[in-house]
């Protein structure tokens, strides 16, 4: 009697069993495709942010050299802002994408950079793209 129950089970539950197997296979494949897509996306976003901050850093170091002889009282704010910008860029946690204040700190760096440009009376024109950044004046 038990034997014929199993036989019927095998037939009756076939649909559900195949459905289950198919779901598990699909889930695994989807997960690994998702991880790949996520990695690509993260890589792109990360590159953009790194590229943007890299531009600011290059800009800041170049100006640090150019202004190195500036000791006048009226230049004190310029120098303070420059040091602050360099400090913020160096403190930025490049290896922790889960840092909870990532976007807040990035906005602060952007704000400091804009303030520095305003004090220099320079209007740089950034083109930040996946292919790399360009800087034109």
């Amino acid at each position: 009697m038990a034997g014929s129950q199993d036989m019927f089970d095998a037939i009756v539950m076939a649909d559900e069993r195949f459905h289950g197997e198919g779901y598990r296979e699909g889930y695994e494949e989807g997960s690994s495709l998702g991880v790949m897509e996520g990695r690509q996306h993260g890589s792109l976003q990360g590159a953009r942010i790194g590229s943007e901050i890299g531009c600011y850093q290059g800009f800041a170091f170049a100006w640090k050299c150019l202004l190195h002889s500036c000791t006048a009282e009226k230049d004190s704010r310029k120098m303070k802002v420059l040091e602050s910008l360099i400090g913020m860029i160096q403190k930025f946690p490049y290896d922790d994408p889960t840092y909870d204040k990532l976007h807040e700190d990035l906005d602060k760096i952007r704000g400091k950079f804009k303030q520095f440009c305003s004090l220099l009376n320079v209007q740089p024109d950034f083109k930040i793209s996946a292919e790399g950044s360009g800087l034109s004046f």
Binding site: G111, K114, Q115, C117, S118, Q123
Partner: protein, 339 residues
């Protein structure tokens, strides 16, 4: 309520265009208006009527959205959609541009002078608020670029006595900023409005802030410093702000501007339903839960949206308003009897 707001006169300030904003000079003798025609006009009284004493026609390539007088009354700042802010020095009836502040990426929406006269704030559609410092030689320097809002910033206003700045945004919030070690930081975010916050006004004491919104409400916020009697919790040394009153059901469209009279405490609003309303705080209301009553409601104050209302700083009850219809109107407000 019918006679509490009486029309004194109208002028076609910005013909064939919109009049966006008005500002009385600190002495209360002149009114500056600005508009979509890219011009700024200065109005003064001659007998019983208002006449145009000066026009500033060069200076901006696009709409002038806001104007603000310095606390000393000798300078006028203008914020424009052309992404610049101009500072004009007054010399009798002439205005000379002393400097143009650049830096915003797109339309500048507001400009405001701090009560000390040494600081200026601007805000823009680029989502940022800039704080500028001016020295004795009329040199302006950017002191901070604040990226706290997540959308277009519509308005900035300074506290009447403290160096505290408030901003209103399309992101539905109001933010407050103060100086901390040579830089400016956002010290509070006021959430509650369900849509764009268009304008702000501090009460005469600076303890309360009124905000008006596209959600058709006015909210009154109160400052609770650390260690306050009411036991309102504060984090760190920054005061906490709580919404203590919401005026809803009075306006049928977006409220574009709000003005808190520094002489009488009356609150005026400019609405997209073409009306001007005035509210007064009930005499025995609880400071922690104040109640306000509508004391004037003037339908069709203008033929289109009212963009701005401004109380004269010296003459109690004198109110100016302007509209998309290009006109400026002057009103006499009298608190109704028996209130």
């Amino acid at each position: 309520m019918k006679d509490s707001l009486v029309l004194l006169g109208r002028v076609p300030a910005h013909p064939d265009s919109r009049c966006w904003f008005l500002a009385w000079n600190p002495a209360g003798t002149l009114l500056a208006s600005c508009g979509g025609d890219r011009r700024i006009r200065i109005w003064g009284t001659e007998g019983d009527s208002w006449i145009c004493k000066s026009v500033i026609s060069e200076g901006h390539q696009r709409t002038v959205r806001k104007v603000a007088w310095s606390p000393c009354g000798n300078y006028l700042a203008s914020a424009s959609f052309d992404a610049t802010t101009c500072i004009w020095k007054k010399n009798q009836d002439d205005f000379e541009c002393v400097t143009t502040l650049e830096g915003h990426e797109n339309e500048v929406k507001s400009v405001a002078w701090a009560p000390s006269g040494n600081l200026l704030a601007t805000c823009s559609r680029d989502k940022s608020v800039w704080v500028w410092e001016v020295d004795e030689e009329d040199e302006y320097e950017c002191v901070s670029v604040l990226n706290s809002h997540t959308q277009d910033v519509k308005h900035v206003v300074w506290h009447p006595s403290q160096e505290l700045l408030a901003s209103a945004s399309y992101d539905d919030t109001v933010k407050l900023y103060r100086e901390e070690e040579d830089d400016w930081v956002c010290c509070a975010t006021l959430e509650g409005h369900e849509s764009t916050v268009w304008s702000l006004a501090f009460d005469p004491s600076g303890q309360r802030l009124a905000s008006c919104s596209d959600d058709r409400t006015v909210r009154i916020w109160r400052q609770y410093p650390p260690g306050n009697e009411q036991g309102v919790a504060c984090s760190g040394s920054d005061p906490n702000w709580k919404c203590v009153c919401t005026l809803s059901g009075f306006h049928s469209r977006t409220i574009y501007d709000i003005a808190w009279c520094q002489l009488t405490g009356a609150l005026a609003t400019a609405c997209g339903d073409d009306a001007i309303r005035v509210f007064e705080e009930d005499p025995n209301s609880d400071p922690q839960q104040p109640t306000f009553s509508l004391t004037a409601h003037l339908h069709q104050a203008h033929s289109q949206d009212v963009n701005c209302v401004a109380w004269n700083p010296k003459e109690p009850g004198l109110l100016a308003s302007c509209s998309d219809d290009g006109e400026v109107a002057f009103w006499k407000y009298q608190r109704p009897e028996g209130l």
